[in-house]
Symmetry: C2
Subunit: 344 residues, 2 copies
């Protein structure tokens, strides 16, 4: 493997000049630059990331911290971030933040060892929730950091305005004439950190209020973000003769898909008898013809990378800010006007 030394000899210049020429520094004459580039190409030379990092203090590598591997959402954010960072010459090193309950040792070691190795210049953290001690360790690193949708005090965070998103989804239903709108999602217990379910319910209630609709506790069903969870909760909701919703706002697209499948199993037609809307823009949404509020996760990753790259530029002072992520109502076949008998 060629080293900078080899390139310097072939080009007939010093290693300092090779370094400057290849880094695109402006203080190199065009002729010299050409000689160096030719030599580098001939030898197939690419600077060793390791040596370059040690000498410059910059690794050109970003740590990507995420709590889940193998899900559509995180993978999509990762894809968007990876593209933007790769285009800027950065690699991504993965830090899988395992669950404290299930893998306490792995999680501990992540903070005590892996994150401390100075392998990266900065971090992107997606939907990450940390204890105070963990957050303190992160801050001790003194590296730029951008969060996506997680509560990270003191960190620039891009997040969805969950209240607004839920309100938009619910308003879509009220504007179609629905007045009995079920909320499938909901919170169980009081999780101070994970406020997403509460925010989405607040948006739901705000939209109802705006349409002059009294909230009805019989229309609330607790569900998680999975198809299974949405299926079970919706079966409860639709099976209860006192509830009779004409529409359902589900907290996620997978929850909404579960709701659609539950309706089918009960002989309830979507959207003729029941409208269903979700939130996400999940890849499965198209197949199920699901109306949704798309949060564009790939784009979220790109925006996070962009914000981080801005912080990484020398001139920029890192002031933690909160940025609202874009979203978009996508109307598909799963929502329609309420059935005629309900409109009477």
């Amino acid at each position: 493997m060629a080293t900078i030394q080899g390139v310097a000899e072939l080009a007939g210049v010093s290693t300092a000049t090779v370094s400057r020429a290849l880094a695109g520094k402006s203080t190199v004459s065009a002729a010299t630059r050409q000689k160096v580039e030719d030599a580098a190409r001939e030898l197939g030379y690419v600077a060793s990331a390791t040596a370059s990092s040690l000498a410059s203090g910059r690794t050109r590598n970003v740590g990507f911290v995420l709590p889940v591997l193998g899900s559509w959402y995180y993978g999509s954010v990762l894809k968007g971030a990876n593209r933007a960072l790769a285009d800027a010459g950065y690699d991504i090193t993965l830090y899988h933040l395992e669950d404290t309950d299930r893998h306490p040792e792995r999680r501990k070691r992540l903070f005590a060892e892996f994150l401390q190795r100075k392998r990266v210049d900065a971090f992107i953290a997606v939907s990450v929730e940390l204890t105070d001690a963990e957050l303190a360790r992160i801050h001790d690193l003194r590296k730029p950091m951008v969060g996506v949708g997680g509560p990270l005090p003191g960190v620039t965070t891009l997040s969805l305005d969950d209240v607004a998103v839920a309100s938009l989804a619910t308003s879509h239903l009220t504007s179609l004439g629905h007045r009995r709108i079920g909320f499938v999602g909901g919170e169980e217990g009081d999780n101070l950190d994970f406020q997403l379910p509460r925010h989405r319910r607040e948006g739901y209630e705000a939209a109802l209020a705006e349409a002059g609709i009294e909230p009805d506790p019989r229309l609330l069903a607790v569900a998680d973000f999975t198809i299974q969870g949405g299926y079970e909760a919706t079966k409860q909701l639709l099976g209860d003769p006192r509830a009779h919703p004409t529409a359902i706002f589900a907290i996620s697209d997978e929850t909404a898909i579960g709701a659609i499948l539950a309706a089918r199993d009960l002989g309830i037609r979507v959207p003729d008898d029941l409208s269903v809307i979700g939130i996400d823009g999940h890849e499965l949404g198209e197949f199920f013809e699901l109306t949704t509020v798309d949060q564009h996760p790939v784009e979220q990753g790109r925006l996070a990378a962009q914000a981080l790259l801005a912080e990484l530029r020398p001139d920029k002072a890192a002031t933690p800010i909160a940025v609202d992520l874009p979203y978009e109502l996508k109307v598909r076949r799963s929502t329609a006007v309420p059935p005629a008998r309900q409109r009477d």
Copy 2:
């Protein structure tokens, strides 16, 4: 941030001794080791990966090359590999191999620049298909490499015995008494590299032959690996009055889920009127009560990491080998005996 120098001073030894003590080298006295460990803990010292790599030639970092980000399968393999590698002290740097058609520049740059940076000691490549030129560049790197399920000449590869897996799935159906078994998957055109569809069809036909069943071309439907693809192909198959299968073997679990949904839409009950089996062990399989041959992707990642770690040990000579990955028939509710009228 503490350096090895700081630890050495606090412990009252040389930096060489600190390095040896923390690396667990046996040539350090217990007392000295204790002093060093105490000092390191007090200062929160963790060796810089960058400096350590440059000095030792080992990065303790593995490159993970994959063609798809955001899918359940790749994410699961990544999870398994990441756990095993992290437990051995390794980080993972991601290399997303973009499509040649859609992102030729990104792909080119991956081989010309990112992979050449010597950031990693070795590679894991999942379902990766390379041109000869790309493969040559990879081999030029002279780094250990393990493939999972992709055709990589000259590389140790773990893969599923696709013929055997498909034969097992089909035999499950014949053993239940099915004789008219549809194959939803199939190949279109002749892709020399991507042999998986052909292998699975061979297994299907072998199992039919073993049961003394004549293959019927009307029972073949071309579909990709998606729910949508399985849905459309199955609708064609079930809609054709000449085909009348009592069971379907789908090339993947998502294809099989599409098949189940297509059957439902046509009023065909699963498993009463139609049995369906897939291959994968997909997370959605449980919800749809899908019988499948589970290929345990998380375990695949773990096995790949394990094989790579073995090659990374100094004593081990790297001889490319092919290893069969484990799989397991998981019988759920989607398969049953054929309907009575068919058994007459």
